[in-house]
Symmetry: C2
Subunit: 360 residues, 2 copies
Amino acid sequence: MQGGGSELNERKKLILKAIIEAHVKEGEPVGSKYLTQNKQIALSSATIRNEMAELESLGYLEQPYTSAGRVPSESGYRFYVNSLMQKYRMSQNELARMNALAKSRLAEIDRLLESATRLAAGLTNYTSIAIKPKQSTAVITKFKTVLLDKQLFMLVMIDGMGNIKTRQITSDEEINEETLARLENELNARIANKRVDEITVSLVMEIERSFGEGEGIISSVIKTVCETLGEPEGGDLKMAGVNHLLEYPEFSDAREFKELLGVLEEKRDILKLVSDSDLDEDGPQVLIGSENILEEMKNSTMVFQKIKSNGKVVGAIGIIGPRRMDYSKVISTVEYIAQNISLMLNSSLSLPEAFGEDEN
Amino acid sequence: MQGGGSELNERKKLILKAIIEAHVKEGEPVGSKYLTQNKQIALSSATIRNEMAELESLGYLEQPYTSAGRVPSESGYRFYVNSLMQKYRMSQNELARMNALAKSRLAEIDRLLESATRLAAGLTNYTSIAIKPKQSTAVITKFKTVLLDKQLFMLVMIDGMGNIKTRQITSDEEINEETLARLENELNARIANKRVDEITVSLVMEIERSFGEGEGIISSVIKTVCETLGEPEGGDLKMAGVNHLLEYPEFSDAREFKELLGVLEEKRDILKLVSDSDLDEDGPQVLIGSENILEEMKNSTMVFQKIKSNGKVVGAIGIIGPRRMDYSKVISTVEYIAQNISLMLNSSLSLPEAFGEDEN
DNA sequence: GATTAGCACTCGACCGCTTTGAGTGCTAAA
DNA sequence: TTTAGCACTCAAAGCGGTCGAGTGCTAATC
């Protein structure tokens, strides 16, 4: 049923490609007669029918019911994506919108991802997600403290990726700036750059000893730090353009749509899906239908690409839509945006850019 | 058409109430015969019909078409909410789930709001939103800096509400810890607690003079600060349970649903809607159908309540659903959650709580 | 005067039927 | 090998009739 597709002759490839592109465009089963309009295919409907029958028996096409047109199967789309598809050429307008993002000078990954999702959704007319994986908080590189009230202070933690986590901590006793500064030093000296399993009881005791008074705070703080490090749902997911999905008749079945929406909201599964995929894969990845492990996504396709900053995966951006999707456009868009973001992140770290030249 | 409702006698009120509650429960037009089952109404269907006809001419009921049952009109719901509705009694289970939130010790408003939305959506089976208005960043009370790289540092800004904003700033020249500390002091001394219109050019020049070297950084920093203060779309909106909406037949019309979704994603309008409403109103507010100014929400109802911390509005939590809504339950839930959050925020600032007693 | 029983009427929902037409597979001719 | 022709299939769309919930009105009853 799968088949690498190498057994297909050129004519079959041509017809398959035409069928997929017609189906993506029209959204309805494609018949043999329709294809005769295609100038590239100079064949009668009967011949096309024969070829279609063979393509079906090879598993690339499906028939919703006897004597309806043909619809691409999952492996049909897969073969299309792997071998037939041509690269999409961005329009001037689209390029302009992409470049607007590049010019936005958003240095922080959070805001960058948010803008990127919106852009991706807007350009493709599909739903877009941006993911920041949890793995990023393996280690905290820097602690900062801010006194907010007599007994309340804020702990700011920064990890290697530039992510910031803040927690407010209440103390039983009054704290002053000076104590807090000592706490900060202590944390930076002994806890910074340690993994959660390296924070041992004896280490904590050592800190308490050297800190002296107010050990109560120490234990609160350490606990908070450990919680933050271990945080299982640390990953963040942003979404945009959910409403676009409703434009596609395949989601007019409310029940299915509801389930898909539920999964998207329940961030956990999606995060898992993305982080499960090949970590080494650099380019865009396409999961068609049941290639998504999630039952709820078996009628959807997800295209995403990881975003790297200095060699590390710091996020991913993706598009979710029906299986019948403009793969060429979507893949190009995702790829382009992901690359651009990676570029921006890298450049903001190494090549200092001139700030403040444009005044608006 | 509007009418305060005082012209209604007890019997009409009873019937109107019964109709609304039946319609909310069943989702279908309510007929006179159906109401005769109601023990409270010991009348024949004919009498009820007469009353219903009058209620319709008063504008409280509507007929989808000749000789269908009656459906509450907008003013019908409004009257119900204002005068007829009884307070919803939480079940044991519901109370337990609410209290779980209270016990969660989430001190930061962001995470608190996120949990609260999820809770509200889960309890009511409607879509829930949580809003953090932009107004909160009128003034920055504290600056902190963190050196990330030779020419890159992070500016952490904390405002009066405990909101944290971070920006990364690149410098043309190399920076060391010591310079950065001076910058931090300078900012805290001269910019902290100033409104954006109080940051004058002469003030900036003064800082540059006293700071001496590397004035380039100063202007970058000040620019960033002003951007942050003025940030027009600063408000944040979290959503949960969007998929619940699809359970209600009134949203099975995909086009309408799509529009509503679009508005919810386009946070701006909702933020405006909430902040436009009576600032002084403390209790839950109910916007039924076209009482929402947004065209896209004319078939929806929104119930929300502001959340105050130390007298200031720091957010709001709300529920969005069809006009046919279990008002009693929704209003109670929103009210309860909002009050609880307010309480938690206040207590975490003033009354120090014992931490670390429960170990899970 | 208020209530109720009775009755004719309305109108969408539903059911089953037919028609339509796009599309197929097969066969025989080119 | 390709194509024209033909019989066949089947969902979609259109149509007419029935059903029944619900109404408004009128006349009888309390």
